[in-house]
Symmetry: C2
Subunit: 450 residues, 2 copies
Amino acid sequence: MIINDTITALATVPGISGIAVIRMSGDDAVKIVSNCFRGSAPLMEAERNTIHFGKIYSKNYLMDSVLVSVFRNPHSYTGEDTIEISCHGGNTTYSLIIDELISQGARQAEPGEFTKRAFINGKLDLLQAEAVSDMIHSVSVSGSIISARQLHSGISTKIKKFRQILLDACSLVELDSDFSDEDIEIINRKDLKEKAEEVLNFCTSLIESFNSAKIFRSGFYVAIAGFPNSGKSTLFNSLLGRNRAIVSQTPGTTRDYLEESILVSGVAVKLFDTAGLRETEDAIEIEGINFSHSVLSQANIIFVLNDISISEEHSDSLYKKIQEDYLAQKVYLIQNKVDRLPSLPEINKNAYISAKYGEGLPDLFNIIRTEIEKNKANINDILINERHLILLKGAAEAIRRAISELDYLSPNEIIAIELHDAARYFGEMTGQAWNEEVLNNIFSKFCIGK
Amino acid sequence: MIINDTITALATVPGISGIAVIRMSGDDAVKIVSNCFRGSAPLMEAERNTIHFGKIYSKNYLMDSVLVSVFRNPHSYTGEDTIEISCHGGNTTYSLIIDELISQGARQAEPGEFTKRAFINGKLDLLQAEAVSDMIHSVSVSGSIISARQLHSGISTKIKKFRQILLDACSLVELDSDFSDEDIEIINRKDLKEKAEEVLNFCTSLIESFNSAKIFRSGFYVAIAGFPNSGKSTLFNSLLGRNRAIVSQTPGTTRDYLEESILVSGVAVKLFDTAGLRETEDAIEIEGINFSHSVLSQANIIFVLNDISISEEHSDSLYKKIQEDYLAQKVYLIQNKVDRLPSLPEINKNAYISAKYGEGLPDLFNIIRTEIEKNKANINDILINERHLILLKGAAEAIRRAISELDYLSPNEIIAIELHDAARYFGEMTGQAWNEEVLNNIFSKFCIGK
């Protein structure tokens, strides 16, 4: 597999900003940039980790004044010769420069291709590579800090340690088999079982943190549902602290669902305003209501808003139905429009609010905060993703089988097979065991330019 | 004015990307980063234009692995000690690092503050500084390339040359006054008038390019208007080449206006789908129609869409009204839904299209392309902005007055006053003459981090 052709991509977000950075990696990185760069000294002789000011030309047209950073193999992120061009931000300049680099022989990088090369060149293991992606996609302070630690290899060390324990145990079991005719017991089956249980506990605690990890990866989703005109858009605006949704007294005003983010306890909370749920013949409204259901199914919390000025029980049937339909979600009935009541009811078992006048909103924020903190407590040193979950479940199953074979006093060969299997799953986590398909799968989820 | 306190800001667009760059400038830039950076060698001794790999900590928490670029006064963009921290992209990491830099003594930079310092330290003149902002905000390839040239000082040289011509002429005129009693004619009034006319021509040609420049700055705006159900959203989707707007047979489906960009002739063309224009009692629809009018007033081209299946003249009154109301816009009547006709009318004076089946769309693209090319032909070496326009108009007025004084054989003193006035306007363009208010005005329009 030849991987040292020269790739290039924008490494920053396109848009209005001071600078944009274009990254290149591969054998010809320095040569290709040299062809279109004019600075005070030739780039080809530039020492590693140095920065050079100059101009980028395309067919004698000046494209931009830039800074070029030179990194030399193996002292770079990818382990290859690497160039970073820092040009002016905006939506056009970077693309003109990338076009020129491609016309000089570079190739547009695929998503995650720089990090994939870093992995293949031994600069990062797979868990570290995934931590890079996690940091970038993190929507929470905690998620970002956990990923930084993971990138710094804390968790890889642990996984590698447990893998080694499994492999050592395998060796002993296999050695024991060799001496089985001679009545020499090399392994203590009780010790072996304890070790297996230790690894199993490690697996299950990581598996349990998966749902919480999701929140730190993608954010915490709060959906506002209810009958038309129960005040959903008003509540949405109040929670955001600004007028985002058109509010009107006409039922069915909101059609496309709206989505905005706020930060609670260092976690990005995505608020969703949905179309009012009702039986309707209006085709546009039906489309909106279908959207609502898809939003609710992804939510962590659903606030079902009731218009208490109609009656306190007005939305009970809807509340019950949503509870039944969305079992994985925490569903709360919220009594809205208390400002329209002469006085508040005595029993305050649910949140009683006035979305319009901002009363009772702290209750809702408390509900959100409590749920987030519950999840924070579950988080380990690693943010489990779907790939890890599948591998950990596989490892846990194999270890459970090994333990039950130990209990049944099965022959060593059988136990060794299970332990090997578990070790293989661990190896796939860190990338000590990998194949092209696994890699492609992982890196295709990266953003371009990383 | 002390300006060497240390400022910091994100210099890239926040969001999902490989890297983000934080910029710092000021006397303490290196010291502040040193306090939270751990690399293989101390930053304080780092040579200029070198890059250092290491980790950023905040209160012993690892924030990220980063690359730190060190620039030393005066060899930096601002002319001060400058640091650029290249960290992982995303929405949280950069802000954690900036928080730490601020807690170590840096200050959040104001918009354009880095470039303002570059100007004050003589690294750029004002036209170049504005070209930096123009490059960043450019929505067109041509705009970006013109700005790159302007940054490279082409236009500044020209303006400075003409300013010098004016100042030289002033000196001669004043010298001539001193010798006026002695009947020595130092200046040839005919030559002087020719020179003044040359400068005036330069001014007026730049002034004329203002409207065209606008297109290269902000893009070319195309609005689709028409009665409800004339097929506006369908045309919007067809021109975009994807389904962006909800299309339905119900009149009044589109409420909020929609805006999307496509690239035509290297210029960003913003397409606007607007709410159908009709008399209505519906409050939400009225809000939508008010939006429509504000969109139309900003458009370069308005396509008035007519449903030819009703009748070819059905929208004539609306077309006429829009032509009368929007005098600055090019208004085109487009006959839509030709697919519903048994056969096309014979005279094809306007574009006859089927938005639904994509027929006739090339005609519309041709209309857009022709308008853009007309504007391209008007563009000079400089993209005039509002500030330049005012200064150039001032200069042109002063020169015109000088010329008419010359024609009236007015005394030298009067002519000198006008020429001085014109030179002052030119000086304000390049920043050879400036004051704090002018600077603040210019740089406040920059993005943060530049």
